[in-house]
Symmetry: C2
Subunit: 467 residues, 2 copies
């Protein structure tokens, strides 16, 4: 239990700091008052200190009417950053509230990769409006980026790269950097990518090394040791994994011929990692995508399919029960106790399932350890099963004064918790093999198995032993 | 349903790339053969191309015996990086397998912050062994870092900072960088931190800007616009949040007097973000910490408490059922149908719960929108409730030929799903207010509520209407 206490203490710590960085309630209230009173100067003053990301959070947290009023009043102050920080679910709404001038003003400030990120989920007319607002060179960059599939490295990368040929010295590279015009450089860059004559990336040099080395040092003598090249078609989730696994700061992106066409930096990888996690956690709970700023109808639609699946599985479980109506009418205690067996199995199954899904996502569950993991999960199920079997046996005897009933529920408990370990691990692995995201579908399968097995084992045994 | 199809397609894409960075099964097999045959040269050759992080994964995935054999054979090749990439659960085991020489050799290669990360969870004797192996200067650095509480920014930061006074020019700064000895600089740095005379950080200059500006430019004229200072006592989870929210690359850490004492870089923040997500997803499933490399006994211990909690809540639900034994003996259909009501409520509750827990973690659920969110979740519960009430009403009539039974289950369904929305949102919010990590404890509470309410509403109504 000690680690629970630890966790609770730690939780307490976390709680204090949840205040850190979260929008202060008073500030929000003040802003909304300014909006009500139509006090533009006051509003601008209150918003001025806020980071675009916080303003976006604010817009997500207030209701639609306040949002509209706020944006109309804020008007010209509206910054492009805010748009790219906004959750997709309200982006279109917000964009449609902006006057064409403000919108084009706003998007012109953005880097091409932010614009891509901004418009990829928009309706065509809104896409047109934004593309139209851009200068030609930016529009071309955005359209080229959009030519890569969604969720690919090509979509994620920025096209501005700082590269240097293999034979260059530190001095040549620095002079080149100085000569290059501001707009041809990424506004943030940490490495020089060294390329061979066919534009294939061969190494990274950090700016720190570059600055500290003598002018006549060859770039190839100060290369970083970890260097990963990313194919443009690679899934962004794998890119995020690579950055996290290999502690990359930036990595060159190449086309099918291996030519350098862009670079991905860790800050992009970090937000992808964050989105992937959100996806996993929501899918495990059967919530599809979904965010707080979605409207009631959308949310209902997102959740309905998973509830429907659950209804079917619940009915299947009920059909198992109905096979034993006779037993239940004779021994009503069965009806009282049967949910316990099912629920314990369901919980144990969810535990194994979550560990398995997470391990698949982090590449820790692979062909080489799959059987050992399954064996381990079943063993864990067996041990916990035996422990709780003992407890339930006693409960059965004490509560209903029937040792036989005690044996029955104890045995059913062991069976169901072993099955839970097996199903909880095996099902996500199978789904993954068949190309289905295990986070998406495992839950329903696993609980079906544990419900059906739980009811069948308990009621079946009872019918055999007690009648 | 279209978004499901979309999700499935996307899932298929994900699957292909799961191969991308995962250890190739053949490679693992080859390595294990080399180990069996005691072929040291072969093993070294096979391991040579692997990144330390991949070797760590390999060690986590093979079983304890293979691990021991592999490490003994690999011996002097063993790199310090591997240790810091290893999961805590097997670090101690691996370290105890290394000869003192190899161990000290290995840890001497590491940066002080990696050493800290490595030893903070170790037994004292192992800590001593490693600290003893370090040069004095590194040992002092490590011990100072350990003086900050676990999970604090002070623990996370690296102490080597590149700073410059406000009045410096680009030229002065570059000359200073050149003069500074290698070991006094972080091996990776992206910003110069500008400090005032009292060592308070006042701004960041990126190396890119520094390199491209004229030598006589003042640092204060080329500062970055986003700049965040982090108190050393701040929780690392909040630090990770700030990096993700404000797209920071590195941020200065200050003591209580606001003096610069270190810097945190985005790669550290990224791994914290990853750990925090792992914690959330595992806690939501009632799996304390836990990893695949834990031994069966540890895993059993980790999961037992949550199963125990679930047993108690399941028994509570059974007690509700036992109040209606009379009704069940007269109408056994009640026993058949009651799990459906409970299970639908449980699922709807888990959906709301997960969204709420995630929103609390991302600071999207705050004082300013809490009531609207609760209202929304109840409304969603009501709508889905009405839909499935209709379905179940029909099922009740068709299956058991009793319209009355249909009304009863339909009504119970609506009640329970509204309650699920309320409990699923309200409980995590309350827990968070009381300083308990909502991810840790919400699940048990919510399912208790939905089970109890589900059984009570269904059986209670049945007793009233049908008897």
């Amino acid at each position: 239990m000690s680690d629970q206490i630890e966790e609770l203490e730690q939780a307490a710590v976390e709680e204090d700091e949840n205040e850190a960085y979260s929008l202060d309630r008073k500030a929000v209230a003040a802003i909304l008052t300014a909006v009500e009173e139509g006090d533009q100067a006051g509003l601008t003053a209150l918003m001025e200190p806020l980071h675009a990301a916080d303003i976006a959070d604010l817009l997500e947290q207030v209701d639609a009417d306040d949002r509209a009023a706020l944006i109309r009043l804020y008007d010209r102050e509206f910054d492009g950053e805010i748009l790219s920080e906004l959750h997709e679910s309200i982006r279109e709404e917000v964009i449609s509230l902006l006057t064409p001038e403000v919108l084009s003003e706003a998007v012109r400030e953005l880097d091409s990769d932010d614009v891509v990120d901004l418009i990829e989920d928009l309706e065509n007319d809104q896409q047109e409006a934004i593309l139209g607002a851009l200068e030609d060179v930016d529009r071309v960059a955005v359209e080229q980026a959009l030519s890569w599939p969604e969720y690919s490295a090509g979509r994620l990368m920025q096209r501005e790269v700082v590269m240097a040929p293999e034979h260059w010295t530190v001095g040549q590279t620095i002079d080149h950097l100085r000569k290059t015009a501001e707009e041809d450089l990424p506004d943030q860059f940490y490495h020089i990518v060294m390329v061979d004559p066919r534009l294939h990336p061969v190494g990274n040099v950090t700016l720190g090394k570059l600055m500290r080395s003598k002018r006549d040092t060859l770039l190839k003598d100060i290369l970083e040791d970890t260097f990963q090249v990313i194919p443009a078609m690679r899934d962004e989730g794998d890119v995020a994994y690579a950055f996290n696994q290999y502690h990359l700061i930036s990595a060159p992106v190449v086309d099918d011929e291996g030519r350098l066409i862009g670079v991905i930096t860790i800050d992009d990888a970090m937000s992808v990692l964050d989105e992937e996690h959100e996806e996993d956690i929501l899918r495990l709970a059967g919530v599809g995508e979904g965010s707080l700023s979605d409207r009631v109808i959308e949310t209902t639609k997102q959740r309905l399919p998973w509830l429907a699946v659950n209804l079917v599985t619940a009915i299947a479980a009920s059909m198992v029960i109905s096979q034993f109506e006779a037993a239940i009418t004779q021994i009503v205690a069965l009806a009282v106790l049967m949910p316990i067996v099912a629920s314990m199995g369901g919980n144990a199954g969810t535990q194994s399932l979550t560990v398995a899904v997470r391990a698949i996502a982090t590449r820790d569950l692979t062909g080489s350890n799959v059987w050992r993991v399954i064996r381990r999960e079943c063993l864990v199920g067996l041990i916990n099963g035996l422990i709780f079997a003992a407890v339930m046996g006693v409960v059965g005897i004490v509560w209903f004064g029937s040792p036989a009933l005690g044996y029955v529920i104890a045995t059913a408990m062991v069976v169901n918790m072993v099955v839970a370990g097996l199903a909880g691990t095996g099902i996500p692995i199978l789904l993954e093999r068949f190309g289905v995201d295990p986070a998406l579908a495992s839950g329903a399968f696993v609980t079906t198995v544990t419900d059906v097995v739980g009811f069948f084992a308990f009621l079946g045994l009872a019918a055999l032993v007690l009648l």
